[in-house]
């Protein structure tokens, strides 16, 4: 019936109507062979000036960057610009999708010297291991759990605190469907990536209503509201807690509840269409180098490294090191692949819950 080839439509539409809006506009392909292009979030490690300088001096390879603002945009850029990118940062939850569309290549960790120090559980992580092959180099990871106000809240050991009458109007949630559904899944003993009982999850989230004061959507917003005393208990990111203490001097403490926490793992991948795969792999090797990580983490601040050797090189009192304890790894459920329909169902449920909070 009314079917148009989607890719054709996208090309025409994107070019003619809204190149800027769709975000599929990219710099023209590079000319020199000794330049690689990295696709990542802006300001997320790979574009640290000191790291780029050291890499170019050591290898003679120049590094260019292109950025994305959402994971779907990252996939779109890979699909519509074959041959442009040589390294791409992928949330490992998206690896299987990228692999299914032949967007990323398997990597041989043996060819990446610094991969020797990677935590074993990350090297063989189910998110990045597909059909026995490894599709990315684990780079950084973090946890989403609870942050509580030090001095005012103590003894919290469960996500049930989010519905505890003691914290009426003192709770903040992350305005993100995947995260909040995962919290309710942990609380109802279900898989965070494939919960079987969505009704129970919706009811659990709705039971937070009296406690919820606000939902936050950026780290900056969280910091402003927390500093203003708007809430005492919150779903928050591990790395952001470290920054809140380190950079903003906030009285906040990170808690891994007994139900566990939500883990995420970002990996660096080689696009299947790259024409500079060796140089790309060399760049990845530099990125997981403990020396690079320590300078990044102690300088501008970084999530936890997937490389044990890098974490061991951090000063013993480093907040990142204290928060991201290796023993937590076993308590995490990692965000994994979500089929489009399930992602949509998550978003629809969260939208309904937010409307319930508001009325």
């Amino acid at each position: 019936m009314a079917r148009v080839d989607r890719r054709q439509f996208t090309r025409l539409g994107a070019a003619a109507l809204a190149a800027g809006v769709t975000g599929s506009w990219t710099p023209s392909a590079r000319a020199a062979a000794k330049t690689i292009t990295v696709l990542n979030w802006q300001g997320y490690g790979t574009d640290e000036a000191f790291g780029l300088k050291a890499f170019t001096e050591a290898t003679g390879t120049a590094v260019k960057h292109d950025y994305y603002n959402s994971e779907p945009e990252m996939l779109t850029k890979l699909r519509t610009n074959p041959g442009v990118y040589d390294v791409v940062l992928v949330n490992s939850a998206r690896d299987s999708q990228a692999q299914a569309e032949n967007l990323i290549d398997p990597v041989d960790l043996a060819g990446v010297p610094n991969a020797a120090g990677l935590a074993p559980s990350f090297k063989t992580h189910p998110n990045i291991t597909i059909d026995g092959k490894t599709y990315g180099v684990p780079w950084v990871w973090g946890m989403n759990a609870l942050a509580v106000r030090r001095g005012k809240v103590s003894g919290v050991d469960s996500y049930a605190a989010l519905a505890d009458p003691a914290y009426k109007g003192r709770v903040a949630l992350f305005d993100d469907a995947v995260t909040e559904i995962a919290v309710a899944a942990l609380l109802t003993g279900q898989s965070i990536n494939d919960p079987s009982d969505m009704k129970a999850i919706g009811d659990k989230l709705k039971s937070f209503k009296d406690d919820v004061k606000l939902t936050w959507s950026s780290e900056d917003e969280w910091n402003k509201a927390f500093a203003g005393g708007a809430f005492d208990v919150s779903v928050f990111w591990s790395g952001a807690v470290a920054r809140a203490i380190h950079l903003h001097d906030q009285p906040v403490e990170f808690v891994i509840p007994k139900e566990g926490a939500i883990g995420w793992l970002d990996n660096l991948c080689i696009p299947a269409s790259s024409t500079n795969k060796e140089a790309g792999l060399a760049f990845i090797n530099t990125m997981i180098d403990p020396k690079f990580y320590v300078q990044w983490a102690t300088g501008s601040g970084a999530p936890a490294s997937a490389n044990n050797a890098a974490m061991d090189m951090l000063p013993a009192d480093d907040l990142n090191r204290r928060i991201h304890k290796p023993e937590y790894l076993s308590k995490l459920q990692f965000m994994g692949a979500l089929p489009d329909e399930r992602r949509q169902a998550f978003n629809d449920l969260w939208e309904e819950v937010k409307a319930f909070y508001a009325h």
Binding site: A2, E221, G229
Partner: protein
């Protein structure tokens, strides 16, 4: 007068008018109608047509959202209430301000007052909204000021309430009302008011029978300029409303940024556009009788 054939100077003038209008309408055509047209197409798609090689599937399903997701009715009601209160407050504050500016100020003093009026236009919306959070929160500047004069008063924390959102929106949109009312009010001739007074009308009567009817076109155009964007606003509700701040604007924004469901976002936008047009249609048939003589 019957339509005579256009004389040469007339034709030249028509061409001149067309040349003057072309840049504006050309720009509008490219920047408004093309993206809007694309959105109309999107709203009938099953999935966001960006990336992937899946074939396009057309559907009208997205337009059933209000039936399949009954909670959206509550959300839309919140948006309409926000639009109503914001517009009402803007009118109550804006008309007196416009009157004072037009009738009681002169020269440089008036220029300074005008500058203060349009100041909200020159500040970044996000900065403006965040500064309200500092003012409105419990233990914020407003709270402190109250306790300075009345120490025993309870604490007031307006932040994350419905009034907080309205305050932020009134701040953002008040200049539209002042400017449109100013234009209407400044064209009222002094003679009309003198005439009313000489016929024995006192202040309130002059206002109700002379000034208000003549200011009505300004009030109406101000209301339209304010009501429509407020219905779609998402930044102020999100930041100042906290848990309460779920509006059609935030739901639609979520579809574009979080859920990546552009078709549903587009369909919701057009549904709201339809609702707003119906409201204006009802409103205008009520007003038409009064507005026409004043506008003539």
């Amino acid at each position: 007068m019957t339509a005579a054939p256009m004389s040469r100077p007339d034709r030249r003038r028509a061409l001149g008018t067309a040349a003057l209008l072309l840049p504006a309408y050309g720009w509008l055509l490219v920047t408004v109608f093309l993206p809007l047209g694309a959105m109309v197409v999107f709203s009938f798609l099953k999935t966001t047509p960006i990336g992937g090689s899946k074939p396009l599937v057309f559907t009208t399903h997205n337009y059933l959202a209000f039936i399949e997701r009954p909670y959206l009715v509550d959300v839309a009601w919140t948006s309409l209430r926000l639009g109503f209160w914001t517009t009402l407050l803007c009118a109550l504050i804006g008309l007196p301000a416009a009157l004072a500016l037009a009738r009681a100020t002169r020269g440089r003093f008036r220029q300074v007052l005008f500058l203060l009026t349009v100041l909200p236009f020159w500040t970044n919306g996000l900065v403006r909204t965040f500064s309200w959070t500092m003012l409105l929160r419990e233990g914020g500047i407003l709270d402190d000021a109250l306790h300075l004069v009345w120490p025993s008063a309870g604490s007031i924390g307006l932040l994350y309430t419905f009034p907080a959102i309205v305050i932020g929106l009134v701040h953002a949109y008040l200049p539209y009302m002042i400017l449109t009312c100013y234009l209407a009010v400044s064209s009222i001739e002094d003679g009309l008011i003198d005439a009313a007074r000489s016929l024995g009308a006192r202040g309130p009567a002059v206002f109700l029978t002379v000034i208000l009817p003549l200011a009505l076109p300004g009030l109406v155009s101000g209301a339209i300029l304010i009501f429509v964007p407020v219905i779609g606003s998402f930044m102020e509700p999100r930041i100042l409303g906290g848990r309460i701040g779920v509006t059609m604007g935030t739901v639609i924004e979520d579809q574009f940024t979080q859920a990546y469901n552009w078709p549903l976002g587009a369909a919701l936008s057009f549904t709201m556009l339809g609702v707003v047009l119906v409201i204006f249609a009802l409103f205008s048939s009520v007003l038409r009788g009064r507005l026409m003589p004043a506008a003539a």
